[in-house]
Amino acid sequence: MKRILPVFFIFFVFVVGGGWSAHSDERPRYYFYNTETNINNFASLKMEFDIYLSNHGSYLLQPFDLRENFEAVIHEKKGDVYLLSSWHLKELQQKRVPLEIALVGTSKGNTTQRKVLSAKKDIVNFAMLKNTVVAAAGSEEYVHSILKQILGKGQETLLKDIKILIVPKDIDAVMAVGFGMATAAISAESGLDKLAMMSPNQFKELHSLGFSEKDYLLIAATLKKTDQQETQLLDVLRKMSETDAGVANLKMLGIDGWRAVQ
């Protein structure tokens, strides 16, 4: 008993203390996790967003680098707004998590994007990707799922023979092909547009082997039955594109505005 008491005490202090510190700041939050990038610029993102948000209410951004932690917050069902990829949202909806799209991110007027599998022009079909490296940004699960979708049915063996190299961002993936570190890359179409601007010669050497289905850009989702607090949070998001500071913050997320989905 003498041994158990101190252990119990430490456990109690840890659990209660941890819970207290996590909930000590009850300000409404935007919870953010993106399966489509490995940039992990969370300190910068939080700092810039919190400065912006402090001028529009008592709100905070809470970015996550681990999917499990982000999903744990959703399961707490505290309300607030969740910023996540369309792919991730679908995954959660399949698990019957009651999240619904409130806003979708826009970029240059578009709300959707496709992922492209691009390679140098001497790679003329999927079969030539056997035993090669494909570079891509995002979580491994996400990249694997997108590659599977692009390759299509009946390519399970090929999928196993492709080595995926996870890089921090789209632009690294497409450049990896040009510089010979990978045979192909998966990126958003905008990633190829960026390559065309910064390295036209490399861009000319590439061609598209396949595309994923079109999907929304970043999503702002809420748990069903949006309350007043969530409505306010969404309103702040929607108005971000009206100021330079707001747009600069959105650009860090790879979007330039938000649009309601009908």
Binding site: V167, P168, M181, V247, M252
Partner: protein
């Protein structure tokens, strides 16, 4: 009945030897120059994650954990008989090269790998991005920059500067380079160079960066003439560089693992040394705003770290 049992035993024996042989041929030995170095340990961790996903076996040898390093390493290599040895850091590579010159080797985190003895059975991932990668990314963030200046020492960096000039030409950027023999020449060289350029590039040159004062001189002169400074490492952000682009260390680990597996299966030519595939970009928003420098806002989603004035 005895024959059947004998056959069963034979099949089991063959299966056992076969699996042992398979495991042996896939085994990688990781030799880490110094486990306490965060950079090395991050690389090792990512490397092991990929090996694990692909059912490869590995053993580890950390140089800083052994008193008689050379003898113990030699013994360990003989004992483990790995198919490939992954060396993290220059010290690990040099040592392995001495004690097991006939083993397949892969290196990363080796400073100035071009000075290493890289044979046909050696593979590597460079420690620094190639100048072409840096220039492409630089152009992405600052598309209006046309002329970049740099100082260098001819004995140490001539080849690198020649490569930069060639790559810059392909990117539509003009490089004005000025050689110096001593840090005392820095101020004069900067006074001549800065008025002619849009941006100053700090390259990893041991003469130009030989002491704190020379670095201070560069930033003071650049500030006086309101010229932005781009650097190869984020250590210069604190001193006022607007942007730094370096290799992402976690990617180096993953990339090395991919290369190790390909090398083990002889699917890449011996002597292959790749540039790092991932970049780490730090933007100094404070310096950027002070200079009122035009920055491509669409590139903000490619920035890993933004530093503000309050940091």
């Amino acid at each position: 009945m005895k024959i059947i049992n004998f056959c069963k035993a034979l099949i089991l024996l063959v299966a056992f030897l076969g699996s042992a042989g398979f495991a042996q041929s896939n085994k990688v030995l990781i030799v880490n120059s110094e486990k306490a170095v965060y950079r090395y340990e991050t690389i090792a961790t990512e490397f092991k994650k990929v090996l694990q996903q692909n059912a490869y076996q590995w053993a580890e040898f950390n140089l800083d954990s052994h008193a008689n390093v050379e003898a113990e390493l030699k013994q360990f290599i003989e004992q483990e008989n790995p198919a490939l040895i992954y060396c993290i850091g220059t010290q690990a590579y040099s040592l392995v090269h001495n004690v097991a010159p006939n083993k397949k080797m892969l290196f990363s985190a080796a400073i100035n790998w071009r000075r290493l003895d890289v044979g046909a059975g050696t593979y590597g991932v460079a420690n620094e991005l190639s100048s072409a990668q840096e220039l492409s990314l630089l152009r992405h963030f600052f598309p209006t920059i046309k002329t970049i200046g740099l100082l260098y020492n001819d004995s140490f960096s001539r080849e690198y500067v020649e490569t930069i000039k060639k790559d810059a030409l392909a990117s539509g950027i003009n490089i004005i380079n000025k050689p110096i023999d001593d840090t005392q020449e820095i101020i004069g060289a900067l006074n001549e160079l800065l008025p002619k350029i849009d941006m100053f590039w700090i390259i990893s040159d041991p003469v130009v960066l030989s002491n704190k004062e020379s670095v201070q001189q560069i930033f003071q002169a650049a500030q006086q003439q309101k010229k932005p400074v781009y650097a190869y490492s984020d250590v210069y952000i604190e001193q006022g560089a607007v942007l730094s682009i370096s290799a992402d260390i976690a990617t180096i680990g993953r990339q090395s693992a991919g290369l190790a597996m390909m090398a083990n299966q002889d699917k890449v030519p011996g002597g292959t040394v790749q540039s790092p595939a991932g970049s780490m970009v730090t933007l100094n928003k404070c310096a950027l705003d002070a200079l009122k420098l035009k920055f491509n806002q669409d590139a903000l989603d490619s920035v890993n770290k933004i530093v503000g004035c309050e940091q």
